[in-house]
């Protein structure tokens, strides 16, 4: 249930504050386009309970900033209704498309047959205007997930929503109450324009670039030589150390459960209760650094998978990632859920309170983050050659003893290219010389900030890996791109230039991701789990989306037990559209692999 608090907002035309904070009534103005006469129909925060769901994709008028816009919605809601399912149920989701264009819904993190995965061109042909597609599959997993469009930019314009699957036999962590916290980034601008604009001027949305004044401040603080040396290095690379988000608060209003910061979505609790907060980053392009001043956050699940509880003050949540957190508010007061965008250009905000209408202080945004030379993978402060990293290759996680790898897991039976070599051509603007796993690194801007910040090294998924075998082979992929030309790719090859990755059915393999770019990329493999390895090769966490920091080399194991054609991509929407996407074909070893792309 959405609670609204009246907060003062300027009455004049859209001010900067109104733009970033939104308007207090913003989330209320949802009304169906085709039934405007009814006006202001409020349908928000609805929960639909399975096993049968009827979902209608349509257009809905919204107003988050004072300027009316049309959003893409599910059942007239932004985000779409919460879908509650039970582990073990056979669910049926009838999705009707009332848009004038084709649409689709992908069940993010769901292990389902390939034809139920919802990716047009790979799973199915998409849902035509006026048509209904029936998704039907067994839900074998539990936890917090989400759904979103996989058609062009419909996710950006609102087509997404939360899913909660109740664990068979009850939750491991008993809680008195729970709230879904669905984070998203809304823009009044047309996403086609945003994409074209990034292609024309990639730093268009960065209003935090280094200025002449910053130079003198640095020279004062660090000395002239240090300030000059810093500018020289960035100047040689032709890159901007403030480039943490391609699309920023300059066009985004950040939302919690479809409510602007001014509208202040409020979740209730009673003093002393254990409250489970299901955080879903349903944004298109935004990483959020989340904390609740006054409360410690006990992380109990990541990407729907229960983990050994770990208590932190703050976490960074990448686009498409999910974290379940338990808090125990001990005081009869309000608490602010503060989710600042990684580039500090804005924030999403909500409140936990014993009563509707209560608010707590909203902390100021942290200072803007500057990427460092180590984020850029610079070994000795210079980035000259374009070759592969040579001397600086970090120690690989040791291979586990392949006790049971004598049969088909030892190697693929089909002629699979072991690993495609990267192509660092003109569309790759940097190649990190010095990369490392750094699983215990919270990432740029969160190191030594005085708070205990979650890292991947803190995540230990309960139950161990889905498959005890060691990897039969390894595929290394570089995360590459050219910021100024706004081209993104794996191994220097855009989707249109690349062959599908081919896995043999049943094999266990290691995917190694090397981030050569200066952005953090949330990489999502459809249909199969990504099981992150610790430095020593032991199992760490099972995830559907893995965020890879700049100059990080991260590996995970995958069991290719999902026959069919799957999407594998960066979940930053505009990176995906710019080419950071691959098809993965899982085929039986004795058959010629399918997949006709390329």
């Amino acid at each position: 249930m959405r609670q609204l608090v009246s907060t003062r907002v300027p009455a004049a035309a859209v001010s900067r504050r109104q733009f970033t904070q939104g308007i207090a009534t913003g989330a209320l103005l949802l009304s169906p386009l085709r039934a405007l006469s009814r006006g202001g129909e409020q349908r928000s925060g609805t929960v639909l309970t399975g096993p049968d769901f009827d979902l209608t994709i349509g257009e809905t008028r919204v107003n988050f900033t004072g300027r009316p816009r049309v959003a893409t919605t599910v059942n007239q809601q932004l985000p779409g209704p919460l879908l509650r399912m039970r582990q073990g149920d056979m669910v049926t989701l009838r999705v009707t498309n009332r848009l004038p264009v084709r649409s689709s819904i992908h069940w993010h993190g769901f292990i389902v047959p390939a034809d139920m995965d919802g990716v047009p061109g790979l799973s199915f042909a998409g849902i035509n205007p006026g048509a209904t597609f029936v998704y039907r599959f067994r839900v074998n997993q539990y936890g917090t997930y989400w759904y979103h469009a996989h058609s062009r930019f419909q996710e950006q314009t609102g087509l997404s929503g939360p899913i909660v699957i109740e664990r068979h036999g009850g939750e491991r962590q008993r809680c008195d109450r729970e709230h879904v916290i669905f984070l998203s980034d809304w823009s009044d601008a047309d996403p086609e324009w945003i994409f074209a604009t990034l292609k024309r001027q990639s730093d268009y949305f960065n209003f935090g670039k280094r200025t002449v004044g910053d130079f003198f401040a640095d020279a004062h603080a660090q000395g002239l030589n240090a300030a000059l040396a810093n500018r020289r290095m960035w100047g040689e690379m032709r890159m901007e150390p403030t480039d943490l988000a391609d699309v920023s608060g300059a066009t985004y209003t950040y939302l919690v459960n479809g409510a602007t910061p001014a509208a202040n979505w409020t979740g209730l609790f009673q003093q002393g209760e254990r409250v489970r907060l299901r955080f879903i980053n349903g944004s298109s392009m935004s990483f959020f650094d989340v904390r609740i001043p006054g409360l410690r956050l006990t992380v109990i699940a990541a990407d729907g998978q229960d983990v050994e509880p770990v208590t932190v003050d703050e976490f960074r949540i990448g686009t498409a990632e999910v974290l379940d957190v338990v808090v125990t508010p001990s005081a009869e007061r309000a608490y602010t859920i503060f989710a600042q965008a990684m580039d500090r250009s804005g924030y999403a905000r909500a409140t936990l309170a014993p009563q509707p209408g209560m608010t707590a202080d909203v902390p100021p945004l942290d200072p803007r983050i500057l990427l460092t030379m180590s984020d850029m993978g610079m070994a000795h402060g210079r980035m000259g050659h374009m070759g592969q990293q040579s001397a600086a290759t970090p120690e690989m996680p040791e291979m586990k003893p392949a006790a049971d790898s004598r049969s088909r897991s030892a190697g693929p039976a089909i002629a699979v290219p072991q690993s495609e070599s990267p192509s660092f051509g003109p569309m790759v603007d940097s190649v990190a010389e010095n990369v490392s796993p750094r699983l215990d690194d919270p990432g740029p801007g969160l190191r030594d900030n005085g708070r205990r910040v979650l890292t991947y090294a803190d995540l230990h998924t309960l139950g161990g890996p889905i498959d005890g075998r060691g990897p039969g082979r390894e595929i290394e992929l570089h995360l590459t791109g050219h910021m100024a030309r706004y081209v993104w790719s794996f191994n220097g090859r855009k989707f249109s230039e690349a062959e599908p990755l081919r896995f043999s059915l049943g094999e266990r393999l290691r995917l190694v991701l090397v981030n050569d770019s200066m952005m953090t990329h949330p990489i999502h493999l459809h249909g199969m789990w990504s099981e992150i390895e610790a430095h020593d090769g032991s199992f760490l966490a099972r995830k559907h989306t893995v965020s890879v920091q700049p100059a990080q080399r991260l590996s995970y194991l995958v069991t290719a037990d999902a026959l069919g054609r799957w999407a594998y991509h960066c979940h930053l929407l505009y990176h995906m559209e710019a080419g950071m996407f691959r098809e993965v074909v899982v085929a039986r070893a004795d058959l010629s692999p399918r997949g006709n792309h390329g």
Binding site: G235, D404, G463
Partner: protein, 270 residues
């Protein structure tokens, strides 16, 4: 009922594992993860070309795009003469290859100088540079000239934007042009842009009032305010100077050799 589902589930899981030929052997750790592999797809998508697939995915990372940048559109006054100047580029194409249009020129005390339009094929060949080849047409006073153009443009270290082009015209004429600019941010919207442009010619061309060697130099400082990224009014100073033999030629005709202009203009792109 739930129990039944559970049993069926476990059964399905085991069947799948068997089907995959992965029966757990010997000392393989038994998974506690409750993971159940998905069924094979009941329907497979029909075969199609990559173009059809891209269309179905609505994801085209090679879609062409265009841009028009009117970098300078300005009027000026100084040394007793008024001036008008423009510099604009437009392009259309993909990440690697673009059709590129460039035009620039000045009107100084009523006479047109360095007015030209170029139509180029822009091809990216390295991280920061693209090659440009095509045609240039001059609207020079007295003599219109046509040239073949070959050059590079790109971003040099320290964010200097460079255009360097060589030209071959008829009657053995040759020419070269270098242009460099830089953005210095005072704030996120208040930006100072120093600019340098240098022209040179290989042969005397009296009809065009040009002598061989370096012919002219333009140095400018423009301070713009980006109301929007796309719309930025600016003020600036521009120093134009004829050089060498071209300067002598101007002097002999009683023309100014160099002028300093205060300018005001608009930078617009879309």
């Amino acid at each position: 009922m739930k129990l039944l589902v559970r049993v069926l589930l476990l059964g399905a899981s085991a069947a799948c594992r068997l089907a995959l030929g992965e029966a757990q052997t010997g000392n393989a750790p038994v998974s506690q993860s409750e993971h159940v592999p998905p069924e094979p797809p009941a329907l497979e998508i029909h075969d199609m070309t990559s173009r059809q697939m891209t269309a179905m995915m609505e994801m085209n990372d090679a879609a062409p795009l265009g841009m028009l940048l009117v970098d300078q559109l300005e009027g000026g006054y100084g040394n007793g003469v008024s001036s008008f100047g423009w510099y604009a580029q437009g392009w259309y194409g993909g990440d690697y290859d673009k059709l590129w249009l460039r035009t620039e020129g000045e009107q100084l005390a009523g006479s047109t100088e360095n007015a030209r339009v170029e139509l180029l094929w822009d091809h990216v060949f390295s991280r920061w540079w693209s090659a440009q080849s095509g045609l240039r047409h001059d609207f020079q006073p007295g003599a219109a000239r046509d040239w073949l153009a070959l050059g590079v443009q790109g971003m040099a270290p320290y964010f200097f934007k460079i255009e360097a082009t060589a030209y071959v015209g008829d009657a053995g004429r040759t020419a070269a042009r270098l242009r460099a600019e830089y953005d210095l941010l005072f704030t996120q919207r208040l930006i100072l842009q120093p600019e340098l442009e240098l022209n040179a010619y290989g042969k005397d061309d009296p009809a065009a009032e040009i002598a061989s060697g370096l012919s002219d130099l333009q140095l400018a400082l423009r301070l713009r305010y980006e109301i929007h990224r796309e719309i930025a009014p600016y003020i600036g100073i521009v120093w134009l100077s004829r050089l060498g033999g071209t300067a002598d030629l101007a002097r002999s005709q009683g023309k100014e050799v160099s002028v300093l202009q205060a300018v005001a203009g608009l930078r617009v792109w879309l």
